[in-house]
């Protein structure tokens, strides 16, 4: 019996490249699945105490989710939105439906207050009793089709369902104190809220239920006696879409400790599984089954964007190579997951490599799931600058985490052609062309690599033994950067190791990395900085949720 092998975590220099981050796939650590597993495990009780929607589809509904110690309610408002006003942009001012997640059960006064604010979204205010604020727009084509089909006594066309995947898509889900909502601190100690974004994921889960009920209602209104109920198997295939733009991209740069924790949890999970020497038959079978089901999912993944078409071709090619490999690969002994990752490294594109990395985690809830407790950030001291640190240490840290950035010629227009800014138009985050627009003075601090290089240059005048305090006294302009550098001491995955302002930067890579942790699938870019995704497709609805279907719903059933 040999010594048990210890597998190190993959290096940040490998993992933190934007093209790899932009190839991440959901896994069992995703926030949606963490929530559904918990809701089933704890036997949450769901109800719909109110559904007051008229024949025009206007009104409101309340959906409650009762956890062991707290109850949460989605208050949903349905509107009659003229087509010409429908926009997924931050600058929109009206939506098909608007939502607030209420902490508890809302009274009539609460509903009244919410009805005067929630439909206006950013232009209204919510209170500490609300945990999140969101809105959703219809997929016009699919909505119309489903209403028509059901109203005429038919089920909707499965191909159309597959090609769009959702009846409505959220265009923002705000939490964490925004627009007056409760801060995360208020709920962070509740066990069901400890993992990241659980309130937001719950809001979307209940929103999906509302959307199913609303489309049924509209079909019933249109068809009367002729209308039929949406087949539960078809309903389950529908997710809630999401339209994500630049608003989300800065998150992974602005929250280095949180992002580090997510990546580190996933990498730790991967390393733990790679250390499994001899999987059981059940574990091997599960991997192979989910591999096949992933293949089905990929065949339902559509996009018209050239970048995504190329990535999908890569992924499909990778899947073919994986299946060919599985014909002869020995998964039964000698650290097969580690060997498989090694094979993937040299044989697949990043899409396939990260798919394998996610799939090998599936058979091991006992090794992986507890890591979701490490994914939030409760380290407030991370923000504190250690002024006593010697300049020599700072220099070494820069060389270790940002060595790749130092040789870049940051003055070269190619390397700094983009500028991140916030428009005064509804505070919409945008990405501009530095040399074509006058935006320099509005630049947001989203180019850490460039800023670190500037700090490194300024540090040249300082002896190794000088203190950070001394440096910062003379160079307050580098305070932000020094803070990031000191964070990298304990957060090795905190920095993207790529240029975020180059003429080649793809913000959709940043969006996908965060969305993959949410548990999103079917990434469909509409430009280099705007992406549609699908959430909860395949998930059981509240009344169907059991511990048997609460986890791997994200993998579609194999065709009969």
């Amino acid at each position: 019996m040999g010594q048990h092998r210890t597998i190190p975590l993959r290096e940040p220099s490998k993992v933190m490249r934007l093209s790899r981050l932009g190839s991440l796939h959901q896994c069992r650590l995703s926030f949606m699945r963490t929530l559904t597993r918990r809701m089933a495990r704890e036997n949450w009780v769901f109800a719909r105490p109110v559904f007051k929607i008229d024949n025009k589809g206007v009104g409101y509904a309340v959906y409650t989710a009762k956890a062991p110690e707290h109850t949460y309610s989605l208050v949903a408002f349905a509107h009659d939105l003229p087509d010409e006003l429908r926009s997924d942009r931050v600058i929109a001012e009206a939506w098909d439906s608007t939502f607030a997640l209420f902490d508890g059960i809302p009274t009539p006064d609460d509903i009244d207050r919410l009805s005067r604010n929630v439909p206006y979204q950013e232009a209204g205010r919510i209170s500490e009793k609300e945990l999140s604020l969101s809105r959703a727009n219809r997929s016009v084509r699919l909505w119309a089709h489903v209403v028509e089909a059901l109203s005429r006594g038919r089920q909707p066309d499965p191909d159309m369902i597959d090609s769009v995947g959702y009846l409505m898509r959220t265009t923002a889900v705000y939490g964490s104190g925004k627009f007056g909502a409760a801060d995360r601190d208020v709920i962070a100690n509740r066990s069901e809220m400890h993992a990241p974004f659980q309130a937001e994921m719950l809001s979307v889960y209940l929103t999906r239920t509302f959307v199913r009920d609303l489309v049924q209602h509209m079909a019933n209104v249109a068809g009367g006696n002729k209308a039929v109920s949406l087949d539960p198997d078809i309903a389950r295939k529908l997710g809630i879409g999401n339209s994500t733009g630049l608003g989300m991209a800065p998150y992974i740069i602005n929250h280095p400790v949180i992002f580090n924790n997510w990546i580190q949890a996933r990498e730790t999970a991967i390393a733990r599984v790679r250390e499994v020497e001899t999987p059981t038959g059940e574990e091997r079978d599960m991997f192979l089954d989910l591999l096949r089901r992933s293949d089905v999912s990929v065949s339902n993944w559509h996009s018209e964007h050239p970048i995504q078409i190329r990535k999908l071709n890569d992924l499909k090619g990778d899947l073919k190579a994986i299946f060919d490999c599985m014909a002869t690969f020995d998964l039964s002994s000698d650290y097969p997951w580690d060997r498989l990752m090694g094979w993937a490294d040299s044989s697949l594109t990043e899409e396939g490599q990260e798919l394998i990395a996610s799939l090998i985690l599936e058979p091991y809830p006992d090794l992986v799931d507890e890591l979701s407790d490490t994914m939030s950030d409760s380290n407030t001291d991370a923000f504190l600058i250690n002024g006593a640190m010697p300049v020599g240490d700072v220099r070494s840290l820069i060389q270790a985490s940002f060595g790749w950035a130092l040789p870049i010629d940051w003055e070269n227009p190619e390397n700094c052609s983009r500028v991140w800014y916030v428009s005064e138009e509804k505070l919409e985050p945008r990405l501009g062309e530095r040399f074509e627009e006058d935006l320099d003075c509005f630049e947001q601090p989203l180019a850490p690599a460039r800023d670190v290089t500037a700090a490194y240059k300024a540090l040249e005048q300082y002896d190794d033994r000088c203190s950070v305090a001394e440096f910062l006294m003379n160079h307050p302009e580098h305070r932000h950067t020094i803070r990031r550098i000191q964070i990298s001491v304990f957060a090795p995955y905190s920095e993207i190791m790529d240029n975020t302002i180059s003429d080649k930067v793809l913000p959709i890579d940043m969006l996908r990395s965060k969305l993959s942790f949410f548990g999103a699938i079917h990434f469909d870019p509409r430009s280099d900085r705007w992406v549609r995704i699908c959430m909860y497709a395949g998930a059981p609805y509240p009344e169907e949720l059991t511990h048997l279907n609460a986890d791997r719903w994200v993998y579609p059933e194999l065709p009969a």
């Binding site: 007056g180 504190l384 900085r529």
Partner: protein
């Protein structure tokens, strides 16, 4: 109007940036305002006042310069954000002896930095000025103020030192309720960080069109 602490922090940070501070100090201003609000102080008012006081001046001249055991600004009144970050950056120097700061605007804003210093050197840090005595430690804040206490405006002398006493209260507020005039002031400063809306920016900057009827 009640605001979440996240709103306070985000607005304060943008306001400080709009007031001319680098992003590093803008972040500090955000955290400082939030900290003060969480302990029940009007952190928004203190920050808005600092930003108005120093608006348009050369902020460099408001840094603390140390000489003969005292800190003063090279010109006029000292900025508490710069003084505060210097206190926490040189926290270990407090072990050598107390500090005296002369002519400081809005001394309340020094407290969050004294708290940071206390966490960094694992000791309690006392801050006192006219009528006010505060002790910060990792367990919280011990605050006493008498009738002569001046909470806002410029104070002539602030003492910062290591203390044996303990901070006894943790933060107690989860919301902030600044006066409308204060909040508007912060929003006005924050507005300086937003680029003007132009048709071109609207069409090109976000990567999406303006209608979504698919």
């Amino acid at each position: 109007m009640s605001y979440s602490l996240n709103e306070v922090e985000a607005t304060a940070k943008k306001a400080a940036r709009g007031g001319g501070y680098g992003w590093g100090h803008a972040e500090e201003a955000g955290k400082a305002a939030r900290w003060l609000c969480s302990f029940g102080f009007d952190g928004c008012k203190a920050l808005a006042s600092v930003l108005r006081t120093f608006d348009g001046c050369n902020l460099r001249t408001r840094y603390p310069v140390s000489g003969s055991g005292e800190w003063r600004a090279s010109s006029d009144v000292m900025c508490p954000l710069y003084a505060g970050t210097l206190v926490s950056d040189t926290a270990d120097k407090l072990n050598e002896g107390p500090l005296t700061l002369r002519s400081v605007a809005e001394p309340l804003l020094l407290l969050p930095f004294a708290y940071a210093a206390a966490r960094l050197i694992h000791k309690a840090v006392a801050v006192e000025w006219q009528g006010v005595s505060a002790v910060c430690s990792s367990s919280g804040l011990n605050w006493t103020a008498d009738n002569s206490a001046q909470l806002f405006g410029v104070v002539e002398r602030v003492g910062v030192s290591i203390s044996n006493a303990e901070g006894i209260t943790g933060p107690s507020c989860s919301r902030a309720s600044p006066m409308e005039e204060t909040w508007s002031s912060l929003l006005a400063f924050a507005h300086r960080t937003y680029a003007p809306a132009t048709e071109e920016s609207r069409l090109l900057g976000a990567g999406a069109g303006t209608s979504d009827n698919d």
